[in-house]
């Protein structure tokens, strides 16, 4: 089943230019991380060395080689957000979720990560959960936001 999906993904990226990167992006989207067996299939399908696939997969912070939760919570630690107390948000989220930064909750629902500038500094401090961006967020809002997503937000 894995290799059928990989083949489909590879087939839909026929352009040799930047092919590996777009294939890895599609895989990350499909599995939410880059599983080892899938990367092995990718190397085979693209007929390139596995060491190259691994090199690219580990080079970009956007890729994860560990399973990720259903929802990805990204706390911006870019300069503007840092100044507005990004550390506090990570701390609050760690407490609310019972995990450390970079980890995934046991129920597989959330992964917490720190990212550099999300590109909307005027809204700082910024948190993003999947595709939803929370700007000018206040620490007291954290429990409520987490509760919304636990309650099925973004499930459709």
């Amino acid at each position: 089943m894995n290799d059928v999906d990989v083949r489909r993904i590879v087939a839909s990226h026929p352009d040799p230019e930047g092919r590996l990167l777009s294939v890895l992006e599609a895989i990350q989207q499909r599995w939410r991380y880059l599983p080892e067996e899938v990367l092995r299939d990718v190397a085979q399908e693209l007929q390139i060395p596995l060491s190259r696939v691994y090199g690219v997969a580990t080079f970009y912070a956007a890729f994860s080689l560990e399973p990720r939760g259903k929802h990805l919570i990204s706390v911006c630690h870019g300069t503007a957000c840092h100044v507005k107390g990004a550390g506090q948000f990570t701390e609050r989220l760690e407490k609310a979720l019972g995990i450390r930064e970079g980890e995934t909750t046991e129920d597989g629902l959330f992964t917490l990560e720190a990212v550099r500038c999300l590109g909307c500094c005027s809204l700082s401090p910024v948190i993003r959960i999947d595709g939803t961006t929370y700007g000018r967020v206040r620490p007291e809002q954290i429990p409520e936001i987490v509760a919304q997503w636990r309650g099925g937000k973004g499930d459709d």
């Binding site: 080892e36 060395p49 060491s51 190259r52 696939v53 691994y54 090199g55 580990t58 080079f59």
Partner: protein
């Protein structure tokens, strides 16, 4: 035909591709750690830097990747070059305090290693020159590669698991300037570290001596059609077999 001016002397390019090649040919010393004449240049160590005065973007440039073009003017030993090289070698000393090449080069460049090294959490001899990666790639196995980036950058087999594609050719050992790569024989197995690779050694059908890594023999046959162990014989026994055959051909009846 073009000319390049190095240290005030005009020299013909004559087929050289890079400034480093010309300097080598002209006997001008430029320190290098990531260059090997048999492998594509990579520009990793930056020690080969020279100062471009004219003919290209002025400033410091790595000579191993600086194309030799007509009218180029470079200096290989200006105060700025010396200063920058010292910084670079100091950084390498910090990273790989036990690597002899680094220590030697530091001495040559007038840098004294600090008496007390701040012990790095994970000491290594590897200076990330990438020579092993390029050697492995050009042999056609690419069993190892660069992974991660920044301070975590590392040369390793995929997923840090035993390098399955390793042929046992040991080209990496040949080119590694620091002695970080080591292969050892244990029984009929050849083991390579830090790649965690293990390959079987082929036994000579005649004398029983272990003479070549099996995957390498197969790889050469498959990729280049070069069957150097066709008769399953070690070089010694093959020579003897050949000599016997030859004797039989040109001196019929001489045997026995």
């Amino acid at each position: 035909m073009g000319f390049v001016t190095i240290n005030g002397r005009s020299v013909p390019i004559k087929g050289a591709k890079t400034v480093l090649e010309i300097a080598r040919r002209e006997g001008i010393w430029i320190p290098t750690l990531c260059n090997h004449p048999g492998l594509p240049p990579y520009g990793a160590c930056r020690l080969c830097l020279v100062e471009v005065k004219a003919g290209a973007k002025p400033g410091l440039a790595a000579s191993c990747t600086l194309p030799a073009t007509d009218g180029l003017v470079v200096e290989t030993d200006t105060p700025r070059v010396q200063r920058t090289r010292k910084i670079l070698i100091k950084l390498l000393l910090e990273r790989a305090p036990e690597a002899e090449v680094v220590k030697d080069l530091a001495k040559k460049l007038g840098v004294v290693p600090p008496a007390e090294q701040v012990a790095a959490p994970e000491t290594t001899r590897c200076i990330l020159c990438g020579l092993c990666v390029r050697a492995c790639e050009s042999i056609g196995s690419s069993a190892i590669g660069f992974a991660f980036r920044g301070s975590r950058r590392k040369v390793m087999p995929p997923f840090g698991k035993p390098a399955l594609e390793c042929l046992g050719c040991q080209a990496c050992v040949q080119v590694c300037p620091t002695g970080e790569v080591v292969f050892t024989i244990s029984g009929n197995r050849l083991q390579g570290e830090p790649w965690r690779s293990e390959v079987e050694l082929k036994e000579c059908a005649s004398c029983g001596r272990l003479f070549a890594p099996r995957p390498l023999v197969e790889h050469l046959k498959e990729r280049f059609g070069f069957d150097f162990a066709g008769e399953e014989l070690c070089p010694e026994c093959r020579r003897q077999a050949m000599a016997a055959k030859l004797a039989e051909t040109i001196l019929p009846g001489a045997q026995g």
